[in-house]
Symmetry: D2
Subunit: 409 residues, 4 copies
């Protein structure tokens, strides 16, 4: 069909062109569930720090699929047999691996959709699509759930060196301009191989793996956990929590219907039926930011004050420290803020609070990145590195923060 023909290629500033491999993939991309990802920002509120970071989960998902095509080519070139069915399952699984993300999902998962994880929702979407597409997603779902015997297929989709991470580091770096986050996905993929059904990286690629882990760590501290993104997300989480509280108290907030649903109902995996999924599928950044814009004028001091902070990018002050902050230190600030704004001490918790963030660039507990040595043995990358970098990258780093209104400074 001519329509399909026209759409077989997407422009991508990173890879040049992304080719849609077949009609089924095309139809999945056209599905409203997937089109919705066009309206969900990949980096959440990071655009408040990096004004170029407006790229979407839609584009990222396409990018992952493109890298998967490269990986399939390289592995086949090296003699690994991958059947057309397996190939297609890889494309579908990587395309849909993140489809369960809601808008600003970290904030949402800690406020209004607390009990269901986005990966579970991805699976719900896949199952629903599998019904609509009459079982054509069977193998993809099997791989995604880790039930397929060829482990490398899941590793390509979800592991410490998967297509997902390769694309998002590269893409987030490209759009945000944090140049050091860029990873050489092409080289990493060139170095891939399969040994006993596990994904391995050939030894000469070890510096690239190290570089990749360094980039990941750098992106965490410089972008994903950048203190301004962090404080914005912490505020958003509190806005949604407050909105839910008010709603449950019977206050009628101005917002979209699907968002209202999730504020009025506590959803769990048990109650997450097809209708809930359909409502969830209507949620995107526009519901959240649209609500914040309306809530700026709400009578509730907490809701309106916090909403204005995000909309006008006039955020709470945040301080990062290496040491844990004592809760009592915040008490005088809270008292001052309560008095100045005529609110209760309890309510100041929306404005003055502390917490911690943690990151580990490489986990020794998770499935390792395997290095295929020249002598054909395989070992954890952490053993292969000639310096201690990787050991240090697997150390978990914790930072502590406190947030409070600027005027208290």
């Amino acid at each position: 069909m001519s329509q399909i023909n026209k759409l077989k290629i997407f422009n991508d500033p990173i890879y040049g062109f992304i080719t849609i491999p077949n009609a089924l993939i095309y139809d999945l991309i056209q599905h409203p569930y997937f089109q919705r990802l066009r309206r969900i920002s990949q980096m959440g509120l990071s655009y408040l720090v990096y004004p170029g970071a407006n790229h979407t989960r839609f584009h990222h998902a396409l990018g992952c699929m493109h890298l998967m095509q490269k990986a399939v080519d390289v592995l086949r070139f090296k003699g690994i047999l991958i059947s057309p069915e397996e190939e297609n399952a890889l494309y579908i699984a990587i395309l849909l691996h993140d489809i369960g993300h809601g808008p600003f999902s970290h904030a949402m998962e800690k406020s209004i959709v607390e009990e269901v994880h986005h990966e579970e929702i991805s699976l719900l979407f896949m199952n629903q699509l599998n019904v609509e597409f009459k079982g054509k997603l069977d193998l993809a779902i099997k791989v995604f759930k880790g039930e397929y015997h060829r482990k490398f297929m899941l590793q390509l989709i979800s592991s410490q060196l998967d297509m997902d991470r390769m694309d998002y580091l590269k893409r987030d770096s490209y759009y945000s301009g944090v140049a050091e986050g860029n990873v050489n996905s092409e080289r990493l993929i060139q170095m891939m191989n399969v040994d006993k059904d596990y994904l391995v990286i050939e030894e000469k690629g070890i510096y690239s793996v190290e570089k990749f882990l360094m980039s990941r760590r750098l992106m965490y501290w410089q972008a994903y956990l950048h203190k301004t993104s962090l404080v914005a997300e912490l505020i958003l989480m509190r806005i949604l929590k407050r909105a839910k509280e008010l709603t449950l108290k019977g206050v009628k907030l101005s917002c979209s219907e699907p968002l209202l649903f999730f504020m009025e109902h506590k959803v769990t995996m048990e109650t997450f039926d097809a209708d809930t999924l359909d409502l969830f599928a209507q949620l995107d950044d526009f519901d959240i930011i649209g609500a914040l814009k309306a809530w700026q004028k709400n009578d509730d001091f907490i809701l309106s004050t916090l909403s204005k902070m995000i909309v006008n990018r006039d955020l709470l002050k945040i301080k990062l420290t290496n040491e844990k902050v004592d809760l009592e230190e915040l008490q005088p600030l809270k008292e001052r803020f309560a008095a100045e704004n005529n609110i209760s001490i309890a309510d100041t918790n929306y404005f003055i609070f502390k917490g911690k963030i943690k990151n580990q660039a490489y986990s020794k507990e998770a499935d390792p990145i395997r290095i295929l040595k020249k002598d054909s043995s395989v070992e954890d990358v952490i053993e292969s590195s000639d310096q201690l970098n990787l050991k240090s990258l697997s150390k978990s780093v914790t930072k502590y923060y406190i947030c409070f209104p600027k005027q208290l400074l």
Copy 2:
């Protein structure tokens, strides 16, 4: 102030870093009027074709200011005197030159804000900010209005080779991935000079000017007037028109308050007072797309059908031709569509229509791009080019289109 310090630099993937030159500029950027540009997409609905094209007017405005800083450096290096006041006026004027854009402004200017042009609104914003900033924008406004005697200053802001175009071509190319649209702004700026208070390009830069005009033309046909962007915009325009009609008939549509205001009121320059400006300043992409999402379920067949088209990217079919289309040709399509959907022939005009688009890469009528020849004479670039390219680039090209529902195919 420490806060200012922290924000003095913006990351930009295109230029590396954008430096805020002083505290006044910083405060202007922090103003909610300017922050709002973070929520207005630079390329409107083009992200439906180019999934990376989600960059904003906010980022573009900063980029223009960055190029202006480069231009000031180059001109001063060449001995052109530019006072600190003039320098600052240039930065302010370029920063705010597009602040009057509403969301999807082409569609909006042809539907709900028909009688006021975005440049007039930019001026309204500048005047309002000038009041708030106690006259510090006086010279910038004078330059912007073309009332300052040094013509090159306006030309840097608004002409056929201004900072605006240089940044948007470069930026739109970067984010969309239409690589051929990229322009060598650095080289173009290096070639700038001032002769008798007019901006000129040194002769050796002539190929770069040609390349710039070619890129502009290419971006028009390949991105700005790409048939899919075009049909999406035409649909959006019809949605807003329909919504306005329904509103005026008394139907209560679900949408944000500021959007409702502009559907309920006809605004003109005369009635565009401070309150109107304030309401306008609350409008952004979230109001429009948020409304479309809600209207998908509206009872009105036209409104809901068209809204779904944008939201799910399931657009009307569009055909481009070099020849004008005869209105009668559409008649049978209209009759079929009216019958199938049980609507009036008049209402089919929302789904089946024709029109034309026009573009001219270089205008012979407008203020020319001036070339400074080696013998110190100055001439219109169109005379300097050794080949006829520029003459052809100044020819206006018209294309005709018809749009209709796919199922009529």
Copy 3:
């Protein structure tokens, strides 16, 4: 063999990786005839203007082969049958298409190897390699000579839109930093198709073709015919001519043996036997520049003076004009220079001379670039363009120059 394995991939900053498709291609690349291209600069003396332009014919040839691999993929994806033998012939032919270039070949072809064109020498090399490789180059040679019935195969190697031009424009732009010369080879290749055994470009790629031709024109005037590259080449040509004259007069110049051979012997296609070819294969930039370095101290005023100019980049003055220069205008300069340096008027011709250069971005006489229209008709790109650009690009442009020693200024 492990050795082959290690070398199957070349790093290329432009394309990422270049993969060697098979062992025959690997062996051809390893051959000393091909390795010699590592020592021949792609852009001749242009590095005197663009200090980054030190890339070699070796790298360019690999780049062309890489693009050919992409082209084969795209065409096969579109259903064009290309047999493995044809595929291999395409790779061999494009890899070797320029192997007949000597060092600084424009200068050399106008001085010491006057009667044999580099394309003829490429064929001599191919034939010789075909002997060594026992006929495995048969089909490649047939294609290269235009004797194969599938015309598009020759067009991919040598036409107005071939892999050669796509790679050299891209590569020369990358290394020189003339950013505007970059071409979107990926997009151009994506738009390729075959119609009746001719190469065609699909209509939607027409702006890219225009952009490609513009880039080519820009690279001509801004790089290949840049006045400083030009004067350097004109000087080099005169050095070689002078050296040949002196040699023929019996002066024993210090230089490498292969270079000496070509100064002592007039070679023609008839006399170009295997031994001559072998001597030719020993010539590269090191023979020429090495000789110039030695000749700086030669007793002959002309030879030493001109040699120093290149070595120290202290060139003749060159002026470009649009009008033909009258020979008599140079007479006073010649007389002055003759007197000042105590040389004959005839010898001043080495230092004071005039000439012309000519370029045409698109030739209407040559095999056209064919556009495949939406209605399946095919036409010359010059007819398809909606503006007159291409007509103007097919106009031949001539410029005139005069050169003379700076001190005469």
Copy 4:
């Protein structure tokens, strides 16, 4: 002067344009001593591995000067006073810091110019130029020798985070295509400051410093010490040594006069007079590679065999190991090779040998990279890093190699 005008700008694909700040710098660049750097490859024989790596010390020196201009801008913007004289001294010192490099200097320093280090020769050149330029290099020389009281000025030129390293990592990465070696020099410079006359990096730049050190380490192992570059250099070293031996034995080798001089004479700092310097200034890659080409046909088996290896890129086999290789292991290989080629066991040392290479990305012994913490204290970067990476980067890594002819495999 018009000539100066034309040349004030160099195209650079990395930075766009490099501007020559003044006439003195222009004249230094024009000097034959500096122009000679156009003929010295920055990465030596690495082009045998990375075919794009043909960039020169000339371009690198200009690049360093460009970064120095950026650094001066940033430091002045932060309030550090730098006088015009100091600024100029910085530009001159960085421009000339590497002028003492001969062609393939690692190989040369271990064969024919053994007793004089390139930095000493740089100083000899500077002193000589200072005479010619009548003392205008006084301050630059003082800074270069570490005799100026403002330590940060030397640190900008020569330290563990200087303009030299920033440019060469960036440039080598760009031209070779080893993308991971790229460093964000712009960001690093943005983070620079001066504290008590020492160069410091502001704390928020710490991830960039880590990334920089990682890139350096990666470039060492992947490019500078790449096993193929390494074996090529080891062979070249042996060729030059052999040539010197033969020369000292009275064999008359075909090569350029300056190269002959250095083979005939042992030079030391004491004997390195102006004439020696002038002869040294005539040496470049063309002397070395030109000689190798001629020596391929030399009667000496060792000299000709090794020379052919480089010219045709048909190198010895090299194996890298983490363990020291026992000398006796090589004995059987030597005996076989001696017998097969009818040479003495002693002479097989030219073909069969072992050794070690060592690298340390960050030295704890050298002047540290200083981090300026938010509380205004300063500490060694190794203490500031929140993870142990830098400690591991300061560990010295040693690898061992053996080389032998392929046919012995």
